[in-house]
Amino acid sequence: MNVLIADDEPLARQRLKRLVEEIDPTFKVYSDAENGLQALQQCIELQPHIAFFDIRMPKMDGLHAAAEIRNAKLKTHIIFVTAYDEYALEAFNKNAIDYLLKPVKKERLKQSIEKVATINEQQQINLPSPLKRPRQVLCAHTHKGLEVLNVKDIIYFKADHKYVQASTTDSAILLVDSLKALETEFSDVFFRIHRNALINVSAIKAISKTADGQSEIHLHGTKETLAISQRHQPALNKRLRT
């Protein structure tokens, strides 16, 4: 069995690795992932059976990484490890396979591993989705592999039929999230200018009018201009004045 460990504290990774190896020396343990994004990338690459994720990690937290692993339809079973995180524990009670508290007890860890071994593969496991804080990166799982964009680099979101396209200066990914959900999650940075578009407020360069009276927005980092609907114009003006 392959096991992956992700934690931003080196000594925490080292201890968990030792405990897992003591429980079963035949397990292959990968323990280099220092943040959620590395954890996600390594899970995609190494396809471990079990992954132990710390909740609070830089770059991408454990909950988000776990949700992405589910999006990528990997078979990895996630077990969360946390020092103390009340809100996360609430979420676990409903959804998670298991969670462990630091410092992890060996006996408890053993139970957890056994629990994963008995899980039926068809059994649906719901991961906690209450990502109360906005994500820092967005991912798309394509045939080429995992594509990752930093949210702060995204210039705009544009809805097109089933998908929403997130664009930066040099790349774009398609997301399954709805524009409405993205608007709520990133309301600090993004603003709706049209039924089908959200723009990064910090990327606004200029607003102009076309010959037929339609307002358009010009953004730093892209040549594309986006239409501003009449309905959203007043709120946009207000936001820009403050």
């Binding site: 931003d8 504290e9 080196p10 000594l11 925490a12 080292q14 201890r15 030792r18 220092e34 943040n35 609070r56 830089p58 770059k59 937290d61 020092a83 103390y84 995180d85 508290l101 630091k102 410092p103 992890v104 804080r133 906005p134 820092q136 949210v151 702060k152």
Partner: protein, 251 residues
């Protein structure tokens, strides 16, 4: 009162019953007084219990506001890990953690010497250094501050904890924590700088305004009008400035 009742009943009843009624009334009187005293006692005891409970709860609340559970359990985890890899370090971190807790539980001392608070800071930083590894680099220049200057206990360590919690821990590559001290014209200035985490999740970490406000209040009560605690931030850096007078005797 009892007297009037007895004389009144003396007229209404034949004399041979007088003695019995007298005893009866006296007994009733005594039991009423006794009950009243007992009730009063129970009431006072109840009030006292309620008050001590409230005080204990307040103390516990204050303690919890100061020690982050997340820090405690992660530190214990670090120590658990080190017991196999580096037992001497595990031992010394256990001592450091104990000192930190002892200081947090002590409420009697009104003022401590700067050198004592500084040793607490060093013990705290030992733990964080082991926990965060290469992500935390520390630059401390405090030799200018007189070691015997008096300050309220736990007025510096929580500020440094804040800097690490918001500036270093949530950041992928960590950064430098700079602590510098100036001594000029009998005034002491302590500056704590930490990088602003590029990670937006850092700003969503619950801020410990209570701790900061608590330090400000205690500083003010020790050095009225002569101390200040200010925070400022730019895009890249967060800065905490603590100013207080050089004083070596309890006011």
């Amino acid at each position: 009162m009892a007297y009037h009742l007895t004389t009144a009943s003396a007229r209404a009843f034949p004399t041979h019953e007088l003695g019995n009624i007298n005893i009866y009334l006296r007994n009733t009187g005594i039991s009423i007084i006794f009950s009243a005293v007992l009730l009063r006692f129970l009431y006072i005891q109840f009030q006292w219990r309620k008050q001590t409970k409230a005080e204990a709860e307040a103390k516990l609340d204050a303690l919890q506001a100061r020690i982050r559970p997340h820090f405690l359990f992660n530190s214990l985890n670090t120590i658990a890990s080190l017991t196999r890899i580096d037992p001497p370090l595990a031992e010394s971190l256990t001592e450091d953690l104990s000192e930190l807790f002892r200081a947090n539980m002590q409420t009697s001392a009104r003022l401590v010497a700067f050198k004592d608070e500084l040793s607490l800071v060093r013990q705290y930083l030992n733990i964080e250094q082991s926990r965060l590894g290469k992500r935390l680099s520390i630059n401390m220049a405090l030799s200018d501050i007189p070691q015997d200057a008096l300050i309220p206990p736990l007025s510096i360590q929580p500020l440094i904890e804040n800097a690490i919690y918001h500036g270093i821990e949530p950041s992928e590559h960590g950064g430098e924590l700079a602590i510098t001290g100036d001594f000029d014209n009998n005034k002491i200035t302590l500056t704590i700088k930490n990088p602003m985490s590029p990670d937006p999740s850092a700003s969503s970490r619950p801020s410990n305004h209570i701790a900061i406000e608590n330090i400000r209040l205690r500083m003010q009560s020790c050095f009225p009008e002569r101390s200040s605690l200010s925070i400022s931030s730019s895009e890249l850096e967060f800065q905490t400035l603590l100013k207080f007078p050089y004083q070596t005797s309890q006011p």
